[in-house]
């Protein structure tokens, strides 16, 4: 992830890919969603500076960018934790215990639905249908689907993610 989150820094980082996205459409406005996604991938979240940079790159009013960023739930306007857990609680997952699991996760991580742990390791969101109802309950960890969740599987997953983070932190510390 890049660090220079000034308007100029964001523009430099995204210019080529945003122009490439814009070329797929007859109107620049259509490239707002792809541009926001590119920005989020690069910087981890989107904010006012991002909107201004995208507006300038696409030559569209900044409010158009904000309107889109604030409408779609996959755009993170606050930086999520290292692992964003999105647990589906919709009907088919609910019927197989997802709501109870969400409560359990809230207790275990000591965060509310939509919150991030104090160590910034986990964000937790109860979300709507993820389209994997045959593998209910289903959880997304960042971009990956984890299927057929059970309490035991959940516990093992959290432990594994914590371990992964500790190992990476240790490596970074050593480097």
């Amino acid at each position: 992830m890049s660090d220079d989150r000034t308007v100029a820094g964001i523009k430099t980082a995204l210019a080529a890919q945003v122009q490439e996205a814009a070329a797929r459409y007859p109107a620049n406005r259509s490239a707002i969603m792809p541009a926001l996604e590119l920005a989020q991938t690069k910087f981890g979240s989107v904010d006012g500076t991002t909107y201004q940079a995208i507006a300038e790159l696409l030559d569209v009013p900044e409010i158009w960018v904000f309107e889109v960023a604030s409408f779609y739930t996959l755009f993170d306007r606050a930086k999520a934790g290292r692992y964003h857990l999105r647990l589906c609680t919709n009907i088919s997952c609910m019927l197989r215990g997802a709501e109870e699991m969400l409560l359990e996760l809230q207790r275990h991580l000591a965060v509310q639905d939509g919150g991030t742990t104090a160590d910034r390791l986990f964000s937790l969101s109860g979300v709507e249908c993820l389209g994997a109802c045959d593998k209910a309950p289903v959880l997304m960890v960042n971009e990956d689907y984890i299927e057929d969740i059970t309490p035991a599987k959940l516990e093992a997953l959290l432990a594994a993610l914590k371990r992964e983070w500790q190992e990476q932190s240790a490596e970074e510390g050593a480097a």
């Binding site: 779609y72 755009f75 990956d144």
Partner: protein
């Protein structure tokens, strides 16, 4: 299940590769079309196949195409709706992940029929694997001459671009989907004008579902007669059904339309997870549920419509004896309330209010009159918004209240004071 059509490649992990797809008859339908049909003849063939849309509304596909004007002087667009989000539905994801060329071939055929040289494939952002598989399939199709300039020497050009959604159920509504591609919030627009006349960038546009488009290669490889020999006359062809919830064997199954709901729940769903079924939702959560004594309803477009529900997205959700219907209704209503785009007051306010009442009933804090209040709300939401989101919400809640009123009333303490009645509309 020996003669699978849409799912014939589903068990082959190499099916996403173009050579493997070709070896099973892939792109033959497209070759037939480009060699032997004018665009009008393609539209006529699809009309005579009686293919109906697999996205939810079940509109006749050929008829939809025929509304595209011939001489608009504007570019035409094809959009594939892969923003699958109706709870209980996961068939389009399977089609894109396991057999993406089937969809790409269908898109080329549809684009040729409506005279579109640009097509957008709108895939929900969460479907990472679907996006990657379709990107790869599109790249292979360009390399093989199935996309790009002068496709298979026919003189027909087509570019397909993927547009990723970003987490909004409402973008599965066709006018909202088009707004989203234009780079706006996904808020539905009043129809008319219909997209066929003024759609994407105010140009003639057709929006078709993944499964609908995936039917086309087979239709043009095996013929209209073969197609219409499957299932009911007024809406034939191969069909996918998704089973989830309280069933023993959740999954996507290809089955003929017209089988009774109860039989499908046993044969494909594997029966109830515990005890007996209490109810089932036949076509995603927008479709009103059937109690167990209504399980003889046939699973096809017309039979379900006559029985007061719909085939919808064919997402069948089983509810066994352990299910609390007020809880199910609360969760479904919360979903619609959360996904309401906020444009139309009855949907935005009505669903917020209904969810609030359902939450207090479930918590044992309901009041006498709450059930009537919910019924009043259903009537005040249904048919009073631009799109079908509010309709689906009111329709499904209404069925839960109708068939399982006793379960709601049983949760309301007898001595509770009624809340003061308030009428907004």
């Amino acid at each position: 299940m020996s003669d699978l059509v849409l799912l014939r490649n589903i068990q082959n992990p190499e099916a996403p590769e173009v050579a493997v797809y070709e070896s099973t008859g892939g792109y033959e339908g497209l070759r037939n079309v480009l060699r032997g049909y004018t665009p009008d003849q393609v539209v006529e063939a699809v009309k005579s196949s009686s293919l109906r849309g697999r996205g939810g509304a079940g509109f006749p596909t050929g008829l939809k195409w025929s509304f595209v004007p011939k001489d608009s002087g504007k570019p035409h667009y094809l959009c594939c709706n892969a923003d699958e989000g109706e709870p209980g539905t996961f068939k389009d994801r399977i089609l894109m992940e396991r057999d993406p060329h089937q969809l790409i071939e269908g898109m080329v055929i549809a684009a040729y029929a409506i005279g579109a040289n640009t097509a957008y494939l709108y895939i929900r952002g969460e479907y990472g694997l679907s996006i990657r598989r379709c990107e790869q399939a599109i790249a292979e199709a360009y390399a093989k001459g199935y996309l790009g300039k002068d496709i298979l020497g026919s003189g027909f050009d087509l570019d397909i671009h993927i547009h990723k959604g970003a987490g909004a159920y409402i973008c599965g509504e066709e006018t909202a989907l088009l707004e989203s591609i234009e780079g706006k919030r996904g808020q539905p627009k009043l129809k008319p004008p219909f997209p066929a006349v003024a759609g994407l960038y105010e140009c003639p546009t057709v929006v078709n579902n993944v499964e609908t488009l995936a039917c086309l290669p087979h239709l043009f490889r095996r013929g209209v007669e073969w197609f219409t020999s499957m299932g009911p006359k007024d809406g034939p062809g191969p069909k996918l059904f998704c089973f989830s919830g309280h069933v023993k064997k959740p999954g996507v199954y290809e089955a003929p339309m017209g089988l009774p709901l109860g039989e499908m729940l046993e044969v494909y769903g594997g029966g109830a997870l515990s005890g007996r079924f209490k109810a089932a939702i036949p076509g995603g959560v927008s479709a009103p549920m059937f109690p167990e004594n209504g399980f003889d309803v046939k699973m096809d477009f017309s039979s379900l419509a006559e029985a007061g529900s719909m085939l919808g997205s064919a997402g069948v959700i089983g509810l066994d004896e352990s299910a609390s219907i007020p809880r199910v209704a609360r969760r479904i209503t919360e979903f619609f309330s959360h996904e309401s785009c906020g444009k139309c007051t009855p949907c935005r306010e009505g669903l917020t209010w209904a969810a609030k009442i359902l939450r207090r009933i479930e918590a044992g804090e309901g009041s006498p009159g709450d059930v009537e209040q919910l019924e009043m709300l259903c009537g005040s939401i249904f048919g009073k918004s631009f799109c079908a989101l509010g309709d689906g919400a009111a329709w499904s809640l209404g069925a839960a209240l109708k068939h399982f009123r006793h379960e709601f009333e049983a949760l309301i303490p007898a001595q509770a004071q009624p809340v003061q009645e308030m009428r907004l509309w």
